[in-house]
């Protein structure tokens, strides 16, 4: 199949770009010929969007229609099946994960009104006094990564609340944001509300600098510049982890293996560290036995569960994993190569469990984009090791530990017992509160002609 032509979309209008970048898939084959949006195209899109921006919320019915089209329609010649195949080949995500992500996005849109309601405090003070939440600006910039399609729901959130949105998609997944934009336009979104600008990191930075609010996904280096910014919120590595302070029964080990390996270990809330008060080796062996059963076909197969990488990333990962294997105890299949070649030309990082007796080892807290867990000892009085986790899954009866984790501002979310890290009702935060970030509270007082009772 020939490489798909992908073009930027400037305020709803597809623009053929003269700047091209070929995206090779994980097998090394050209997958897409991506028209790049240089900074000047972004500047034009921004100016046009700002001129037209009205700050009006998008009606939920339109978003639901768009979600339905995203999941089921053929958009610009791309069937849902072809979309899945492209994302799987571009990112190396197993096809099942791409399918889950589509369902996640549809669900996020469906729940959006409830999510927003849960994220905002009650606003009626009675007797004519109330607070309305209005967009804190007009332009929202989203700089996406390619590790998972689901985070694209963040810019849909901003769009729904009244922002006009400019998205720079991830380099290896230019498909998801594009498909969402096409679905939104097909569902009737006014053209000026959304632009899709594949391009360099510099273009992403430019968009974030210029927007009123923005979000950036990426590694520590990519998001470092924006940490502490009032107008840009960052989504860096999740470093989710579990604290195991109960007996490692089969049920507990099954739970931990799922928390680590579901969706191929590619979610920000997949755990990558198990801290245990018990026997480190036994826990690691138990997890490794479960990882050993993971396998299956190449990423494009309908039943794929493990991610793949291209040759260049395979080489880097192999070097990195060999280094780790020298310093830590390996519980993965004995003798197996850390990265293996697959029949389609892609490479699979081996699901890996490592253990160490040193909870200060640099690998403790390392997160990799496939099922990868380090098991390390934990003793009471070392709450620091839980800090920095997007999700801390606490398997303990000790209420002091739980209270400490709940009070720790560095932990995004706490789950207890055999609760998966991504369990959430609409509005359950795991990384801050997007509605409050996007909106600004404004007092509205209407005494209906009476004198102000507080005056």
């Amino acid at each position: 199949m020939s490489a798909a032509a992908i073009e930027p979309i400037v305020c709803g209008r597809t623009v053929h770009s003269l700047d091209r970048a070929v995206l090779a898939d994980v097998c090394g084959t050209p997958l897409a010929d991506v028209g790049q949006a240089p900074r000047l195209m972004a500047a034009g899109a921004l100016a046009q969007a700002r001129r037209a921006a009205d700050g009006r919320p998008v009606e939920h019915a339109l978003l639901v229609r768009a979600a339905e089209l995203f999941a089921n329609a053929e958009l610009d010649g791309e069937t849902p099946d072809e979309y899945e195949r492209r994302v799987a080949l571009g990112t190396g995500l197993p096809r099942g994960t791409v399918r889950h992500a589509t369902a996640d996005i549809v669900r996020a849109i469906d729940r959006l009104p409830r999510t927003v309601a849960a994220e905002l405090p009650a606003t009626e003070q009675g007797s004519g006094y109330r607070t309305v939440w209005v967009p804190a600006g007009r332009i929202f910039a989203a700089v996406m990564a390619s590790n998972h399609p689901a985070p694209n729901d963040s810019w849909l959130h901003a769009l729904a609340l009244g922002f006009s949105v400019l998205v720079r998609p991830g380099t290896r997944d230019p498909f998801t944001a594009r498909r969402l934009v096409l679905a939104l336009l097909a569902a009737g979104l006014p053209a000026h509300r959304v632009s899709y600008l594949p391009g360099s990191h510099a273009v992403g930075s430019y968009l974030l600098e210029s927007a009123d609010r923005g979000i950036v996904y990426g590694g520590d280096e990519a998001v470092a510049r924006w940490r502490g910014s009032a107008s840009v919120t960052t989504r860096g590595p999740g470093r989710s982890r579990a604290l195991l302070d109960v007996a490692p029964t089969d049920e507990v080990l099954d739970h931990l293996a799922t928390a680590a390996a579901y969706d191929g270990g590619t979610r920000c809330n997949n755990i990558s560290l198990v801290l245990t008060t018990g026997d480190v080796r036994a826990v690691a062996d138990g997890l490794a036995a479960r990882f050993d059963k993971l396998g299956g076909p190449v990423v494009t197969a309908p039943d794929a569960v493990l991610p793949a990488v291209d040759a260049a990333r395979a080489e880097v990962l192999a070097g990195q994993l060999r280094g780790l294997r020298e310093e830590l105890t390996v519980h993965a299949p004995v003798g197996a190569e850390p990265v293996t070649g697959l029949p389609d030309g892609s490479y699979r990082p081996l699901p890996t469990v490592l253990s160490t007796d040193d909870p200060r080892h640099p690998a403790v807290g390392l997160e990799l984009p496939f099922p990868f867990v380090v098991v390390a000892p934990w003793r009471r009085g070392e709450p620091d090791l839980l800090g920095g986790a997007l999700v801390a899954n606490l398997l303990t009866e000790d209420e002091d530990i739980v209270a400490g984790a709940v009070a720790d501002p560095r932990i995004g979310k706490v789950t207890r017992g055999r609760t998966l890290p991504w369990a959430a009702a609409p509005g359950t935060p795991h990384d801050g509160n997007l509605s409050v970030f996007l909106l600004h509270p404004k007092g509205i007082v209407d005494m209906g002609g009476k004198e102000d009772a507080m005056a």
Partner: protein, 356 residues
């Protein structure tokens, strides 16, 4: 000591000039201390053995030595006399390289100015120069063009080395403020002075376009925009031409301190590129090469240049730029260059971490 007369080389072919100037640069009475010092290390006799453009490739690329050589040693003894100026390269790849110039650049710029006029440069025109000045040659060139066109020259001071430092240190906030400072000064000139030509760099054009008010002001006031210094991608150039400045003449100049300038030639029927640069055939030889061999037309190669003038001799210099080789224009003698870019620097140690 009286100034020896410069060999008369106008009207000669490039190869004939090479033969004339080998004698000039490598004779003890007329050559520069710099080249006379290199002579014993060369292993060949340039006067006898270098007779054409191909012969220049026998010289090693000594341009790195221009970073440390006292600039005065570059002046041919035959030209001893006052009036030489020193110019420095940008310094993006280490310490700056220095050259000397007395008359060469004026002759080059007279030729280049005629090339600019072929694009309907307003005449007379006053210039706003929003670009490097100081040791950099860009502002000097544009001041010369303004004078040749009978116009006034309004420079805004811009120190690109300071910006490079800020960028390297990740001080993007300060970069933003410095660019704002430059744009404010440009706005000041544009609002009160009758400017016809704006000379600037691609990043500053991008900054102007990102500022709707200033963009509107430039659009209203300026007839011609001249850009140089860094490259524009094809789509960026299309954006400038068609979207941001549809009624303004936009002309690119490729060049660097060592070689001089290669202005954009007027478009030809059948051009595949929006902007094709042509060097000055009289003194400059540019080849686009891969592994030392010239690439075919339509292919991308690395810029290898030689400068052969009475004042400076710089053979066989490999630049960091690459470009697409374009067939000579109708009636033209030299190849064109299009889509100039810089060799991408490949990062060494990639480490993969994190999902987010």
């Amino acid at each position: 000591m009286t100034t020896t007369s410069v060999p008369a080389t106008t009207g000669l072919t490039f190869d004939e000039r090479v033969r004339h100037l080998m004698r000039w640069h490598f004779s003890p009475e007329t050559g520069s201390p710099f080249w006379l010092r290199q002579l014993p290390e060369l292993g060949f006799d340039p006067i006898e053995e270098v007779t054409d453009a191909a012969g220049l490739l026998r010289f090693p690329d000594l341009s790195d030595r221009l970073r440390t050589t006292p600039a005065g040693d570059l002046i041919p003894r035959g030209l001893t006399g006052a009036g030489f100026q020193v110019y420095e390269s940008g310094g993006s790849s280490g310490a700056p390289k220095r050259i000397v110039d007395r008359d060469y650049r004026s002759r080059l710029l007279s030729w280049a100015f005629e090339r600019l006029r072929a694009h309907h440069l307003p005449d007379p025109a006053h210039w706003l120069h929003l670009g490097p000045s100081g040791p950099h040659v860009f502002a000097y060139d544009c001041a010369r063009y303004a004078a040749l066109g009978g116009g006034l020259f309004y420079p805004v001071d811009f120190d690109p080395r300071w910006v490079k430092r800020l960028v390297a240190a990740g001080d993007t906030e300060i970069v933003g403020r410095y660019v704002r400072h430059l744009l404010d000064q440009a706005r000041d000139v544009l609002s009160s002075q009758p400017i016809g030509v704006l000379s600037t760099t691609p990043p500053l054009i991008e900054a102007i376009c990102a500022d709707p008010e200033l963009h509107e002001l430039v659009n209203r006031r300026v007839d011609t925009i001249i850009w140089a210094g860094t490259s524009f991608s094809p789509e960026s150039l299309r954006q400038v031409d068609e979207i941001f400045f549809p009624d303004t003449t936009v002309i690119g100049i490729y060049g660097n301190t060592l070689m001089g300038v290669a202005p954009q030639r007027p478009p030809q029927p059948g051009d595949k590129h929006r902007c094709v640069f042509e060097p000055w055939a009289e003194a400059i030889r540019i080849d686009l090469v891969e592994d030392g061999e010239p690439v075919g037309y339509g292919e991308r190669g690395r810029v290898r240049l030689s400068l052969v003038t009475e004042e400076m001799f710089l053979p066989n210099v490999m630049e960091r730029d690459t470009a697409v080789r374009v067939e000579p224009a109708e009636g033209g003698a030299v190849d064109g260059l299009a889509e100039v870019g810089t060799i991408a620097t490949v990062g060494a140690n990639r480490v993969i971490e994190g999902v987010y």
